[in-house]
Amino acid sequence: MKARVHVMLKDGVLDPQGEAVRHALGSLGFEGVEGVRQGKVIELDLAEDDAGKAEAQVREMCEKLLANTVIESYRVEVL
């Protein structure tokens, strides 16, 4: 079973990289880009074949390592 984790900076945490991308888009002539947030996507191949258990397992991985919950939020997709 595969799972995909999306890690994003929490709302309210300033994202300097996203801001730099926003400025670069502006300088390329893309108008009206009001905000850019940059995150990461982590894909996992799991031996588990029960979707519920897989999701619980991946959530625990997020809490313990994949996301820093001080500044980041995460979303788990089981595929």
Partner: protein
């Protein structure tokens, strides 16, 4: 005093940190990231700067889950001392021993220069060699030194006297100009500036040496 300096794959300030401790009179032992225990009798754990595990995932994230960091946490929870510099500060926040997180610098650039700092508290074993409000200069060399913590957390650090150093001229966007923070018991210090790189007069103004001397002195007096 007995110091243990952790070596992770990618650490590059470990020997400088060991030298600074030794020059202040400490006995130093290097410990490997795969070790599961600190040497018997360790008083202070040094968590050095560098690029542990290539900064993969997040700076300090993998190091914070290494076997030796389990021993570091147990040491700190028993009231042991620890000093984390630069990547070591990132590791200490990732272990949860210090609050907050270090994000990419506001200007997105890696910054390597000597910067002025203000000593915010002299009432700790690390900083009693300075005067409160004293201005010192230490080198910084980091890409991810932008200290981030919510407003309540910053207020708590202020109230409890846990901000050790602030930048005089904030180089990286850190909240409240914070350059170094302390644990609640003030025995764990994390800081982005490098005192170990300014601990020998052959290398310029040795403003960092007072930190190591104070720490060793605290144990000599005990």
């Amino acid at each position: 005093m007995k110091a243990a300096v952790i070596v992770f794959p990618g650490s590059n300030c470990d020997r400088d940190l060991a030298t600074a401790f030794r020059q202040a009179g400490a006995e130093v032992e290097m410990v490997w990231h795969k070790d599961t225990e600190l040497p018997a009798g360790t008083d202070v754990v040094g968590v050095p700067g560098g690029f542990s595990y290539g900064d993969y995932l997040r700076c300090g994230a993998i190091a914070a889950r290494s076997p030796i960091c389990g021993a570091l946490k147990r040491h700190a929870e028993k009231g042991g001392f620890a000093l984390g510099v630069c990547n070591g500060f990132q590791v200490l926040t990732e272990t949860g021993l210090l609050p907050g997180a270090l994000m990419r610098n506001r200007g997105l650039r890696y910054i390597c220069k000597t910067v002025p700092l203000r000593v915010e508290t002299a009432a700790t074993a690390f900083t009693e060699g300075y005067a409160e409000g004293q201005q010192i200069a230490l080198p910084i060399a980091h890409h991810d030194g932008n200290y981030t913590l919510d407003a309540d957390g910053v207020a708590r650090l202020r109230d409890e006297g846990r901000i050790a150093f602030t930048y005089v001229d904030n180089p990286n966007g850190s909240v409240a100009d914070i350059a170094g923070v302390l644990s609640a018991n003030k025995r764990v210090l994390g800081m982005m500036p490098h005192p170990e790189r300014a601990a020998d007069s052959a290398l310029g103004q040795p403003d960092g040496s007072a930190l190591f001397r104070a720490l060793c002195g605290a144990f000599a007096a005990a």
